[in-house]
Amino acid sequence: MIEVSDLSKHFGSKTVVNKLSFTVKQGEVLGFLGPNGAGKSTTMRMVTGFISPSKGDAKICGVSVIDHPKHAKRHIGYLPESAPLYNDMTVHDFLKFCAAMRGLHGKAGSSAISEAIETCFLGNVSHQSIGTLSKGYRHRTCLAQALLHDPDVLILDEPTDGLDPNQKHEVRQLIKRLGQSKAILFSTHILEEVDAACSRALIIDQGNIVADGTPEELRQQSGTNSLHDLFRKLTTKETD
């Protein structure tokens, strides 16, 4: 479903992502872990086709994001890190716009919007202006737009960022549920989410993969049965 091969990104002389290769199959939830500035968001932006890689390629359901971006993007639901939204629209109007951008009009669009609103618990705020929403609702609205077209692939950049513990739990449960039929790649630096939602995890540091395995394998690799210890051992700290 997601095939990333030798994906690299340089900004001037700085290498932000260095020859990343990984795959995510249908029914797999891959957690993308790493410290701030490791290259997680940049990698996701390349995989979704928002920015062009310096080298390498990403294929979504066998379609290259570089050669056939429009076709590849049809299979992707993307939640950007900052959960960007149009503040002047209501939740329903925004989802209607996103549905139309995905080719969902009329009854199909209405049905998709209703389902996304229900899945993301937006019923209470569907006719409220986005500019007046709390951070949690804004995040869920942006998540809802990623689910509208029932994509085969979900790419979620820090989907639980800024949510309260209840909301975090709901989103993790949702990811786990959706992960049974889709290929999901989500980034986080909250290690508890690896056990809560992931079937596999990658740790990246300074643009390189430093660990790859199931949560159990990674804990064994740490030597102390702790993901935190493995994370601290393998990643660069700001005090280094």
Partner: protein, 241 residues
Amino acid sequence: MFTIFKRELKSYFTQPTAYAVICIFLFMSLFLTFTLGNFIKTGDANLEWSFFFWHPWIYMLLAPALGMRLWSDEQRSGTIELLGTFPTTIWSAILAKYLAAAVVWGIALALTYPMVLAVNTLGDPDNLTIFSGYIGSFLICCTFLAITCLISAFTSDQVTCLIISCSICVLLVVIGFDHVARALAQSFSESTTDAIVSTAVLDHYRPLLRGAVRIQDLVYFFSIIMACLLSTSAILNAKRA
């Protein structure tokens, strides 16, 4: 493209921006027509000197006010990332947003129709000349909008976009004046001065006010518009490269 166009157009009218720009344009254009334009005394039924003459002066400040949010806002709020991951091309988005802004200005121009009714009641105008004047006015506005669209792609700060766009639009208007051309001639060679002065907007606008729809004037306006929109696409793609 139509989805983005609809969203943009609706967005202009759910915020005060469009209403403010339209009201100010209507007020300024009609105020200038009846005061400095001396509409009643001049008796200019074709509206060339009393009405249309003032439009470039109003557009050079107001058109950037409407266009400054075109791409600056998307970059500042991060919604450009959403647009960039929808199954659509950046060119469709550029065209849709630009056309939405142009439609708002079209509405503003259309709302000056009482002037046409007035001259038809008071005098005997050549309505085709007036129509040609409206085309010229709309083309100038679209040109200034396209320039603003390009500048907005460079920056996420709307104020910076406004200032730079206004400066460029003011320059394009004032270089059409003789004393500016004479001042340029003192610093540059004759051929360079001619080249600079030929880019002046007014030289291509005045024939349209007289009812002369010349190919070279249409080419001038459409060239600038297309160059700016294509450059906008290049800038936005370069930022993502």
